[in-house]
């Protein structure tokens, strides 16, 4: 706690960091407004926007009815008209109701209009499992969005990224989807001083290592780091942990660079394995670093099942530290 102002290093929760980023954006640019179900009076389903409606009023922190397709489409229109909407969809599970608007309009209009209709829209949504919310509230569908040309997809995994990724996302002239893993909100960390312009295209090496690259993002970063510590402590394996940060575009340079050094890779992805983001990352590594690989790329992913409620089943459905360690040992073994 340096105790300084909003732009100085501060220890805060991921939730507070995202809120602070929105407060900053609302204060700095009158074109910015937040819209979504219960973002106002209620404070956001996960409390991220708590207090913002009191500060900025109901026009700029706008509660919407339960109409995901309608208000996401309205965000697209408002962006086309020159505003800078931040649209919150409570969870990625509900975002399927708005996927037509996101794919067929937000991602498509610029190209289909021959470059005339830009859509500077930011859509935030919670993703992921781990809180026993069962199938209809626990999925990780990032893979759907990372497949869509015309949009950018971000997955802030640290408090600092939660704090500093929103501004550049709002500055992007094209649609940006931001995934916030529900298990991250309560985690606190130092946001670091204002890093100035943040690069949205780059992955980050969160832990340098020499023996194997653990490539992950979002809610799985903590597990990958824990696995790396265990590998170092128990198996004398020095794992490098790469946080993708951006799911579209993927930062091939950082990922491939890491694998060129370690010659082994494990992709850690909470999403379903078949056709998940893990498949694209694995495919790119073998395409671009085939002759540098000493072993096939391993994947530690979510089980291919609708996430169940019961604690032991839910935990078994998600990639856990032991799964990551085992995959890394297979890779180096």
């Amino acid at each position: 706690m340096t105790g300084g102002g909003a732009r100085r290093a501060e220890s805060m929760s991921y939730r507070e960091a995202m809120r602070e980023a929105m407060r900053e954006a609302l204060a700095a640019d009158e074109r910015v407004f937040l819209m979504g179900e219960d973002v106002g009076r209620y404070g956001g389903a996960f409390g991220v926007s708590l207090g913002l409606v009191e500060e900025f009023g109901p026009e700029r922190v706008r509660d919407t009815p339960l109409s995901e397709s309608g208000f996401v489409g309205a965000g697209i229109g408002a962006a086309i008209a020159g505003l800078r909407p931040i649209v919150e969809i409570m969870t990625v599970n509900f975002s399927l109701l708005a996927l037509d608007q996101i794919l067929n309009n937000a991602a498509t209009l610029l190209h289909m209009s021959g470059g005339q209709v830009a859509v500077p829209l930011v859509i935030r949504m919670t993703t992921g499992a781990g809180r026993q919310l069962a199938a209809q509230h626990s999925h990780s569908l990032e893979a759907f969005y990372a497949h869509i040309p015309g949009i950018r997809v971000l997955a802030p995994a640290t408090v600092a990224d939660a704090r500093w990724m929103l501004a550049p996302a709002l500055a992007d002239p094209d649609p940006v989807i931001v995934f916030e893993h529900g298990s991250l909100y309560n985690g606190t960390d130092n946001t670091a001083d204002d890093p100035g312009p943040v690069d949205l295209d780059s992955a980050a090496v969160r832990r340098p290592g020499t023996d194997v690259s653990l490539v992950t993002y979002g809610g799985s970063l903590g597990k990958a780091l824990a696995a790396a510590e265990q590998l170092a402590a128990q198996d004398q394996v020095d794992a490098e942990v790469v946080d993708l940060r951006s799911l579209r575009p993927l930062d091939d340079a950082t990922v491939i660079g890491s694998v060129r050094r370690t010659h082994r890779a494990v992709i850690v992805d909470e999403g379903w394995r078949s056709g998940g983001l893990s498949a694209e990352v694995a495919a790119r590594i073998t395409e671009q670093a085939f002759y540098d690989l000493d072993a096939p790329v391993e994947r530690a992913c979510g089980a291919e099942v609708p996430v169940p409620y019961a604690a032991q089943l839910e935990q078994a459905a998600l990639p856990q530290v032991p799964d990551i360690v085992a995959a890394a040992l297979r890779a180096v073994g």
């Binding site: 179900e37 209620y42 339960l66 509900f94 919310l133 209809q136 089980a303 089943l313």
Partner: protein, 349 residues
């Protein structure tokens, strides 16, 4: 309380099986006692859920229906076993009133394999196909098209069954409500659209969800027979549903009922309930459905504190036993995680 479209509305209010057996005053008093008992049972079940959630035995999102018991007891009480039910995540009361044993609902919330969904669904996803209770849906309005399909099957097969879909006032804003209402009216489906209007969708009040807050007018605009009901009066709810179900069986087509009610608790155990005026909540508590019925029974059926206490004791003993048994239920082995992703016969993977 009378239908907006009297032309299309059924003339006499006749319940089904139960109704027939409800001829004499004595039988009616007994029936009222059943309804009271059911509401007390649901209330106490929900209060147990609060404890179980606080103690951490029950996890995830838990949505209580305290204050809305008349809807559960009245709607489900007026349906027959051959009818189908599709519900929401706020369905403990619906499930109990449908006859799913408290033990298997508790077990489900405890994540036990003995739960009505084998612990895979939890509080939001109670299922019991043997009782034609088709969940327990967590996507707001997501159950509506499915309910239309259940009704379509009956229509195609010429079966005299009703599918009752319960949903909230917030669900009306979703496109799924619109598409389902039109399909139901267009295809004349034997579908009862039971809207549990508790005036809020999470923290959003009715007049900030809908431009037109007269939900009956909205529904009628699809050509649905529609009327509103005092959702705090279990007898009114039961009468209305019996009447609607009969009309549907008689071929009137789909019916929409707006059941005016209120939740005394927050949206979910997770919700600090910052958005409601405490005075408003207190005003509604004066219309507590258990009070409304017991007051009448004190006047008409000579119900007294002793009798009421007896009912409460009976129920609390039943639930205590149910919870004990539920706690003894085993858990699904993790080896069976992938079981039921596909049907055994399907053999896909």
């Amino acid at each position: 309380m009378s239908p907006r479209r009297t032309a299309a509305a059924p003339t006499a209010a006749r319940g089904r099986t139960r109704a027939r057996s409800r001829s004499g005053p004595a039988a009616q008093a007994a029936h009222r006692r059943d309804l009271l008992r059911e509401m007390v049972r649901i209330r106490q079940f929900e209060e147990r859920c609060v404890e179980l959630y606080s103690s951490g035995e029950v996890r995830g999102f838990v949505h209580l229906c305290i204050g809305e018991e008349a809807v559960s007891a009245g709607v489900l009480g007026a349906l027959g076993p051959e009818d189908a039910v599709v519900s929401t995540y706020r369905e403990h009361g619906h499930a109990l009133a449908r006859g799913i044993p408290a033990e298997s609902v508790f077990a489900e919330m405890l994540g036990r394999v003995t739960g009505c969904s084998r612990g895979r669904g939890g509080s939001m996803h109670l299922f019991d196909v043997s009782r034609r209770f088709y969940g327990g849906h967590g996507i707001v309005a997501g159950g509506l098209p499915v309910a239309a399909g259940l009704a379509l099957a009956d229509r195609i097969r010429g079966q005299e069954q009703v599918t009752c879909c319960l949903f909230g006032d917030g669900a009306l804003a979703e496109g799924e409500f619109h598409e389902t209402a039109n399909l139901a009216a267009l295809w004349d489906l034997p579908l009862l659209l039971a809207c549990e209007n508790n005036l809020y969708a999470m923290g959003t009040a009715l007049n900030r969800e809908h431009a037109q807050t007269d939900l009956v007018a909205r529904a009628a605009s699809y050509g649905l027979v529609a009327w509103e009901v005092d959702g705090m009066d279990v007898l009114a709810v039961e009468r209305a549903v019996a009447r609607a179900a009969r009309a549907i069986r008689d071929g009137t087509g789909p019916v929409f009922l707006e059941l005016r009610t209120y939740r005394f608790r927050a949206h979910s155990m997770y919700d600090p309930d910052r958005y409601r005026d405490k005075a408003e909540v207190e005003r509604w508590k004066e219309r507590d459905p258990i009070q409304v019925l017991s007051t009448r029974m004190r006047a008409e059926d000579g119900l007294d504190d002793k009798a009421l206490a007896a009912v409460e004791k009976e129920v609390s003993e039943e639930l205590a036993t149910a919870l004990d048994h539920a706690r003894q239920g085993g858990t699904e082995p993790v080896e069976d995680l992938l079981r039921f992703v596909y049907s055994p016969a399907g053999g896909s993977s």
